[in-house]
């Protein structure tokens, strides 16, 4: 069963079209990697999926057609996005950021428990809980952004370069967390990443984008072994 099916997606900015009939799908409960060079249109694709920019084409999410639905509605349906380059509310405290992340969650108990959980995983965030997110370091903000997205307990999480600005140890931890969330909560995860190796290790499937379309796809193992990937993304 596929969680997300994208068919013939066209999106761009003003007159320029960045995506060209992009099509791919993500299986329910899978971790999928979306790779591609700088400027390939990965960020644009995620924004189109989250409803941040208008798009043409079919997006079926969990059996619901997303075209025409507002971005907020898509979050309610369970599709969360961690935007590229951190999307924290800079003037709001760390804790308020987490609470905002759980805006669509009704249960107060669950919110409190989740906040505790993220504080336990990222003790730095607990130390900074009363501090405006804008004063955090780059990496700390990235942790916060991801934690905030997961606060909504999404069905599917889309992460735009989660490792950006994270120290190696934290990057590893972050990917472990993705695996855990995926395993424990059944959250489907779509990761856009430059760190292809790490991503493909936890992913079951991968797509490679080039100038707005999927150029290559396959299982993670196939891609890890593929020579094109080796050269361009794994830095052999």
């Amino acid at each position: 069963m596929s969680m997300l099916t994208v068919e013939g997606l066209d999106a761009g900015y003003g007159a320029t079209n960045v995506l060209r009939k992009l099509s791919f799908s993500v299986q329910r409960g899978a971790i999928v990697a979306l790779l591609g060079a700088n400027g390939a249109g990965k960020t644009t694709a995620l924004r189109a999926l989250s409803g941040e920019i208008p798009a043409r084409g079919r997006i079926a999410f969990n059996g619901v057609e997303l075209a025409g639905l507002s971005a907020a509605r898509r979050v309610e349906l369970g599709l969360a996005l961690v935007p590229q380059g951190r999307g924290t509310f800079t003037d709001f405290t760390v804790e308020e950021n987490l609470e905002l992340g759980a805006y669509t969650v009704a249960s107060r108990g669950q919110i409190a428990a989740d906040i505790e959980r993220w504080y336990a995983l990222f003790p730095r965030l607990r130390e900074r809980r009363r501090q405006p997110a804008g004063t955090l370091s780059g990496g700390e903000q990235q942790m916060l952004a991801i934690a905030r997205a997961l606060m909504s307990r999404p069905r599917m999480l889309m992460c735009d370069e989660p490792s950006l600005g994270l120290a190696p140890a934290i990057t590893q931890e972050m990917f472990a967390i993705f695996e855990r969330v995926n395993a424990e909560q059944g959250t489907t995860i779509l990761i856009v990443e430059q760190n292809a190796e790490l991503t493909l290790r936890i992913a079951s499937r991968g797509y490679v984008m080039e100038v707005g379309e999927i150029m290559l796809e396959g299982s993670a193992a196939e891609l890890l072994a593929s020579s094109t990937i080796q050269n361009a993304y794994l830095g052999a």
Binding site: Y13, L35, G36, A37, N38, G39, T43, Q84, G85, R86, R124, R128, Q131, T135, L136, S137, G138, G139, E140, Q142, M143, E161, L164, G165, L166, A167, P168, A169, I170, T171, Q172, E173, Q194, A196, E197, N231, A232, Y233, L234, G235
Partner: protein, 266 residues
């Protein structure tokens, strides 16, 4: 502890000396007695876990945040008393971790801002001395076009910077910093958003720039491949304090660094 400048001595003084620098933000001790020196001509790496204070240290050097203790010397002279706007003219240029590009300006305009301190005049000069202003503008334009060409950005020179993908923005920042003709370049995570292949290319580029423009570079980066291959020497910060210094090989094997920063798979 005080480093004495030895005129004509065998050991030339380091280009940048950071001595016992401390910074507090309210209850947060972002830096505590950090000491670091960068020799002229080297590429020095600065690494450390998230929140270790690397960006803050950059901010101290460029005077974008005040220090509560210690001293910063550039080329033997104290710079921690200069106003922020004079740092770039002193010869220190930087890039910003979370992008300091002007999205509503074109790429070329962004880069030309870097050269402002060289050719730019005071606001009223434009009115009072039109001819020399125009001449300066032309010089600036030529120089910045060259820089863009070197960085392979000439194709997008007239595009709005805001329309560029993340990695290109990082490169535009680098171009702007280079346009300032600095002696010391502070790079804060310049390789963000690059694929492995691109990272390698980028390393080459930095080395080339260093040689061509006789730069000294202090590099913050979490991309270990890049740091290890590019830097001659690494300094590690942890919780706002010096943790270790040494060659890449030494650092890679340093148990404290592995524990605090690199993690198991390094």
């Amino acid at each position: 502890m005080k480093h004495q400048a030895i005129p004509g001595g065998a050991a030339a003084p380091p280009l940048l000396e950071i001595e016992d620098v401390s910074v507090r933000f309210g209850g947060v001790q972002a830096l505590g007695n950090v000491t670091l020196s960068v020799e002229a001509g080297e590429i020095c790496g600065l690494i450390g876990p998230n929140g270790a204070g690397k960006t803050t240290l950059f901010n101290c050097v460029t005077r974008m945040c005040g220090i509560t203790g210690g001293a910063i010397r550039f080329d033997g002279a104290r710079i921690d008393t200069l106003p922020a706007r004079d740092i770039i003219a002193a010869g220190v240029a930087r890039t910003f971790q979370n992008l300091g590009v002007y999205p509503r300006m074109t790429v070329l305009e962004n880069v030309m801002l870097g050269a402002h301190h060289i050719w730019g005049g005071a606001t009223l000069d434009t009115l009072l001395r039109p001819r020399s202003t125009d001449r300066a503008e032309r010089r600036m334009l030529d120089w910045c076009r060259d820089v863009l060409r070197e960085l392979g950005l000439e194709a997008v020179a007239h595009e709005l910077a805001g329309a560029m993908p993340y990695a290109t923005l990082k490169r535009i920042e680098l171009a702007r910093a280079l346009a300032a003709r600095p002696r010391l370049l502070l790079l804060d995570e310049p390789a963000g958003g690059l694929t492995h292949g691109e990272v390698a290319e980028f390393g080459e580029l930095v080395r080339r720039m260093r040689d061509r423009h006789q730069l000294t570079i202090l590099l913050v980066e979490h991309h270990m491949g890049l740091v290890m291959s590019l830097c001659g020497r690494l300094a590690v910060l942890h919780l706002g304090r010096n943790l270790a210094q040494g060659t890449p090989a030494e650092i890679r094997a340093h148990p404290d660094v592995i524990g605090a920063y690199l993690g198991r798979a390094a």
